[in-house]
Amino acid sequence: MRVERELMRGAGPVAVLGLLEQREMYGYELVEALSSQTDGVLAMGRPTLYPLLYNLERKQLIRGVWREAESGRKRKYYGVTKKGMAWLRVQQKQWGSLIGAMAGLGLIDVGSGRR
């Protein structure tokens, strides 16, 4: 199932920061992770992922560093900054209360979510 653009606009950055909070990742890894860990719900088009990363980097929510990957090739690894952590906490709270509210209305079943 695909998520509507407007929703994706809000969810995309949160998802990306959430993933990067777990561990630092480079672009291709991130694409695969977004797709596999969300059953494709948050699978982001490549044309938008990289611009999104640059945008978050500009806002100083993430930081990219070039270093050698396991394969021996150099990759740009992105990690969450302190500012990004704080932002993520706020977003998590908001999403939590939004989902809670939706559940309270009986519109969604919270148990069906992964994670």
Binding site: R5, E6, G45, N55
Partner: protein, 927 residues
Amino acid sequence: MHWTGRRPQNGRREDGLETPAIREERLLAESRIPDEVRGYLRAVMDSSKLHGAARFDVLKELVAHFEDGLAARRTAEDLLNDFGDGELVGILIRRSRREARWTPRRLGRLGNRTADISQDLGQAIRGLRRNPGYTAVAVLTLALGIGANTAVFSVVNGLLLRPLPYPAAHELVLPVLTKPAEGVRQGPVGYADYLRWREETGVFQNVGLYVDWNLNITGGERPERLKGAIVSHRYLEVMGVPPLLGRTFVPEEHERGAGRAAMLSKGFWERRFGGDPDIIGTSILLDGESYQVVGVFPPEAQWPREAEIWMPLTFGAVTPDWVLEMDARGYSVVARLQPGVELSQAAAVVDQIARRAAAERPDTRAGFGATVIPLRTYVVGENTRRALWLLMGCVGFVLLIACANVANLTLERSLGRQKEISIRAAMGAGRSRSVRPLALECLLVAMLGGAVGMAVSVWGTAALAAVAPAATLPGIHELGVDLRLLVFGLGISLATGLGFTLAPASLVAKLDLRQYLTEGGARAGHGPAGRRARSTMSVIQLALSVVLVLGAGLTAKSTMGLVQTDPGFREEGVLTMKVFLPHYPPDSPEGRMEGQVYRAFTERLKDLPGAVSAAAVSALPLSADGLFDYLPFQAVGGVEPMIGETHFANWNIVGVEFFETMGISLSRGRAFSRDDVPTGPKVAVLSESFARELFPNQNPVGKRLRSTSSVVSGDPLEVVGLVGDVRYTDMADAGRNVIYVPQSQSAWRAMAMVLRFEGDPGERVDEVREAVWAVDPSAPITEVRTMAQVTAESLAAPRFATTLVAIFAALALVLAVVGVYGVVNVSLRQRYHELGVRKALGAEGGDIGRLLVGQGAKLAIVGIGIGLPAGMALTRLLSGLLFEVRASDPAILLGVPLLLGASALAAAAFPARRAARIDPVEALRVE
């Protein structure tokens, strides 16, 4: 280290370092990605327009992405599909990185918004620079529209809106007499009227009476003619300003036989006396009499406007009876309204009083009423005022057409930019944010157009002032830039920006982005909505230009009529001038023969080589100042006229050879001769129209008439001849009643001389002056002009108006035709494929051409269909300004649609010809 400019072939700079381009290529070459991906990445980077380290960083990351994908055993094709349009990816990357440059970090929301706008503005500027063609055409079109509007507005502003230089100038009015039945809308006033208006109305704070009174000042190198006025007591109080220097007239100075006093204008005081503060109390010589200067008139009270000297009216305490005669009407009145009194109220009051006078004295006052004219209207003239507003309407239409044109261009351009707008929307920009760069671009174009337009208007205003007849547009040479004008210029530019932005923007905002994404964008938005918008715009242009061209056609026809009108005289070879006799002391030789001085001038002038004939005249054709206004006459011995049937005629004193010199045709009887001596029987020559009115169906020669006015002597005049009608005030003034009397029997001290030469009279000016001064060196000479110049000046105003309207109409027509061309041309581009298919299926080139011409024809028919009735309704406003042309002139009503239609078809024919030659093979390939 320095950059040498050209990149060496080997990819190394002279200092041995690698160029960025080479570095990129090396990265691509050393990566493990197939050629198609390399090409794709080059396209992405090109469209990203990034530079330096940031660019290399992004490329490195994207290469890594593809390497990882290939390593994960995905195909290159699969990976490329994931990314999609390379150009779009590049633009998205550019935008995500570029924003960093614009956004101030800690300025909060406001800062972000400003940053957004400045970012969009930057984009708009780049967009315009990328399309110099569009920008130039749009800016120029608008500049013409805005420039023309601002130029005309600066005239309207200077002449109609800016207050006259008097304190509370809106309160100043001129009460005048009217005679609706004879079309007299602002006739001179009687002294008795003045007294009643002053005493009985209660609507005026102050009422002043004045008579234009010009006189000669001597003592300088050459005698000079001064414009002045004789004014009633407390005249300055009407204007509400104290004298600049000295005092105003005291009651004793208004007594008959009092010592002569004068006030000078500031300009005259400075020009003639160098602004000498000790001028008060000194004497100056006017018309041979000594006047004591008592004060200097303040410039902000200077009325009449051109007056340079004021003298007190000296009737004394008891007004003489003859002055109180209701038919002695040679005065003007200026009054200041009580605060809060409306114009209409004051007009009603003075009219009521005049009607009462008409009831009391029906013999001389039947049919007279009165009204008040605002000073401004009097200065500018009602016709000029209307003409100026109409002109403002004309240029307004031109601007609307220009807007519609630019709107069409912009629409074209914005439809070509859906890709960008889709990208913005895809990145989550709201609708307004998506359209904003476009709107900003339009606003920029409008502002640029406004700036260039202001320059155009400065030039246009100067050009207007240079060619405008100063007589019709007094003050045209003193137009300045003021706040109102600047606000107008800015406002009109902004309104224009809004005007031509709204249509395209709303259309773009409605675009279906999915349609763009699925169809690749090539044809999206060129659907019916776009076509309709373009056609509507074109129809509006056509309709507006129909109105303008109609107006121009009518005005031109009217002016042509004026030019071709027979003025009643022959102007070739005639030179004219005004000569003013000094007041000779009664016992001097000149004084004893005062009446004969003009005859002496005449004889002297006739002695000049090449001179054919010469004469004096009190009222020169086509410049009727000096016509003794409207005297009542009746036939002697006939039936006494019924009350209210008095016949009025203008009194013109002429020399013996006047008719011959002016080439005025004698239709009956004889002209004046030397035998018409002062002591002989009084004789007159009538204009044909007056003779017809006074002696219907009779031969007037030998008949006698006399004036019922006490202003001229009551002796009966014998009609000795009849001459053709002559246009006295202007070309449009036909059949004025004129009674000519010989100069030998009726002296007048301010006359014009007319002189017929063989050959060009313009070269004889100096000789003529010297000849006059040989007779009397103290007689001022003014307005030396050939009769051809007099005629040209009288036609200057209508010619000027016609030229302006014609220019604006031509501009409108060209813009509208370009509009039609644009619509058909776009249609050709969009239907290229379809037209190719038609041709491939066997359609002839002619059929295809006709298809497009048909589209132009449809636009023309609808445009004309709307414009013609609108034009007929609007041109009715012109009717009072037209000469012998009705607003519903059939030739114009037929010709204008034909002209517009033919122009529209011709505009459509260009793309149609190209369409006819479409190569079906090529057209089919285009899809």
